[in-house]
């Protein structure tokens, strides 16, 4: 894959020893060119002819709105087990979206044995184990509790795992990195239910269980449950979708997706983890030493450029908006830097505000492509001081057999014909 050793010819290094490009100059030039492009677009629209929707009545009202038929290809991409259709994933098409909120119909999925169709009237959440009094809650009761709303990303521990492969995978950004989505989750703080049941002194874990075919179970430290976990009931304002846990799921801010147990039906308070299949055999990361990391809960500081990205084409040398997403389970994103020369020089991107903790943060930076090969990268930093590592550094630390928790810098190569592909 050809790379440009000199970087972007329009933005040469500012001076010897100067590591950073001048963002103001970068933006100023971008704004001037963007104005010229907009003027050209207006001329094209005026010559569009007589448009039929100006003369016939439109469609009637709809009870539940759907996207334009012209956007029908903005869809989740499904990767399922060929023997068991309900075991697999569907990816959020990150490169087709903008802003920070994932529409509910496009939120990524990871199901272990399909999506149960649960009648809420028959669903119960049982809190038991090391408590003073075991309790059962129905959905209507939980809807009466005080609630909290929080904008949060959820990321599967296995997201981006193709990054461990020896060769860069050639798939759209969302089809590799789209096991992460971001929504406003509303629900009941778990601390209310734990207090009501009365947790024993020696308890330290809670084992959550779903009501899916397989009753998936995961152990979560009691301290985290008390601190900020929710019984999620609403997603982006509406009740959860079945594929996201209807009628209720666990929300575990900033921690790996598998802990956000969907179709939540049981919380067993315990003095130890249950050591379920999904916290021993899976969702653990084998290191080169032969030891494995276990209970790696917090999703690391991460970012990627969603535009331009794999499969897109820059039609001609012009100004383009570099745009992407950053997130960290450790807190707020404080900085995203962008490089167009494979990481030699970095420029601060503009972060969309507010940059909320454990939430997608959109970053943008106008870039004038000169028609020469370029390698685009983004690098995120969070408020805890974590900086997203280069791939080589991550592999040096973890090896390549860990499968989970890949969060290295993503690189897109722009060829001289404008085609964008994945590169290392």
């Amino acid at each position: 894959m050809a790379r440009n050793p000199n970087g972007n010819a329009d933005q040469p290094p500012v001076g010897a020893g100067e590591e950073r490009l001048d963002r103001r100059r970068f933006l100023k030039q971008g704004a001037a060119l963007a104005g010229a492009t907009a003027a050209a677009g207006a001329t094209a629209a005026q010559s569009g002819g007589d448009l039929p929707w100006l003369h016939v009545p439109g469609q009637p009202f709809s009870a539940y709105g759907q996207p334009s038929s012209h956007e029908r290809y903005t869809a989740r991409r499904i990767g399922a087990n060929r023997a068991v259709a309900g075991n697999g994933v569907s990816f959020t098409p990150l490169e087709d979206l903008d802003g920070t909120i994932t529409p509910n119909g496009l939120h990524f999925e990871r199901h272990h044995n399909g999506v149960p169709q649960i009648d809420p009237a028959q669903h119960r959440l049982v809190v038991h184990g090391r408590v003073r009094q075991a309790l059962s809650f129905d959905v209507k009761s939980l809807l009466r509790y005080p609630m909290r709303s929080q904008m949060l990303f959820i990321e599967c521990g296995g997201n981006s795992n193709a990054g461990w492969h020896a060769e860069p995978i050639q798939r759209p950004a969302g089809s590799v990195h789209g096991l992460v989505s971001c929504a406003e989750w509303t629900g009941v703080p778990l601390s209310f239910l734990l207090d009501e049941a009365g947790v024993d002194q020696e308890a330290s874990w809670v084992i959550a269980e779903g009501a899916d075919a397989g009753a998936m179970n995961m152990s979560i430290p009691l301290g985290k449950m008390r601190e900020d976990c929710l019984i999620g009931l609403y997603q982006n304002g509406e009740r959860l979708r079945p594929e996201n846990g209807y009628p209720m799921r666990l929300i575990v801010p900033g921690w790996e997706g598998v802990l956000h147990v969907k179709w939540l039906q049981r919380l067993e308070v315990a003095d130890q983890p249950v050591m379920s299949r999904n916290e021993t055999s899976k969702y653990t990361e084998l290191l080169p030493s032969g030891k494995a990391r276990q209970f790696t809960f917090t999703m690391d500081c991460k970012s990627l450029i969603t535009s331009p990205s794999h499969g897109q084409t820059l039609r001609q040398p012009d100004v383009y908006q570099i745009s992407g997403l950053a997130w960290s389970g450790h807190g707020r994103i404080t900085r995203v830097e962008v490089s167009v020369d494979n990481g030699r020089q970095w420029t601060d991107a503009v972060l969309q505000s507010p940059a909320l903790p454990r939430c997608f943060t959109r970053f943008r930076l106008p870039w004038r492509w000169d028609g020469k090969p370029a390698v685009l990268k983004s690098r995120a930093t969070d408020e805890a001081g974590n900086m997203q590592p280069e791939r080589a550094a991550l592999i040096a630390e973890r090896g390549r057999a860990g499968y989970f928790h890949y969060h290295a810098i993503v690189a897109w190569a722009v060829e001289d014909d404008g085609l964008v592909s994945h590169t290392y």
């Binding site: 068991v84 075991n87 809650f137 009501e196 269980e209 397989g214 009753a215 080169p288 276990q294």
Partner: protein, 179 residues
């Protein structure tokens, strides 16, 4: 001057009120709508099986009884000998865990034998999870442990014996964020 003082006082009062708002909000009273459940009711239906054997039900099953159950319920995806198919390998590890392409089988990777019972009972077979009885789950656990060279061909598993199996990779995990 008086008006100025009043404004200042109002500002201070507002600040104080705002300052109090957060802790008050955190003390919002929740209704107590949980319905007590008996220890032998819904709470007893837990499927969780802990490493010390807590949660294992009465019953038993042998390696010999497990062999036909594996062929019937598991082999279609995991292969006749458990070495993998459309689903992952369960037996037959040859490359050690420090190999770049390590085999992560039950015998080479799983830290606890009790996990077998917990997972098989709740999740297997995938076409009809939760339909195997306790004896069948013990028998399948026994066959898988034997196929991994961990127990003898004539072994029988029950609650006490399964919890007593020492898995080779018992100490192979670093608990990164566990309390």
């Amino acid at each position: 001057m008086d008006w100025f003082r009043i404004l200042i006082s109002a500002a201070v009062a507002t600040t104080l009120l705002n300052g109090c708002a957060a802790p008050l909000a955190q003390r919002v009273e929740a209704p107590k709508l949980g319905v007590p459940v008996a220890a032998d009711g819904l709470a007893a239906q837990t499927l969780n099986v802990f490493p010390d054997g807590r949660g294992l039900p009465p019953g038993q099953g042998s390696v010999k009884e497990g062999a036909p159950l594996f062929l019937r319920h598991c082999a279609a995806c995991h292969g006749r000998d458990g070495r993998g198919g459309t689903a992952e390998e369960l037996t037959g590890a040859s490359r050690p865990l420090d190999h770049p392409a390590a085999d992560k089988t039950i015998g080479s990777y799983w830290p606890f034998a009790t996990t077998l019972f917990d997972f098989i009972r709740r999740a297997k077979p995938m076409t009809a999870p939760g339909t195997l009885n306790a004896d069948e789950v013990y028998a399948l656990s026994a066959w898988l442990l034997h196929a991994n060279g961990l127990i003898a061909a004539d072994a029988v598993m029950d609650a006490a014996r399964l919890a007593a199996v020492r898995m080779p990779n018992r100490e192979g995990f670093i608990r990164v964020e566990a309390p």
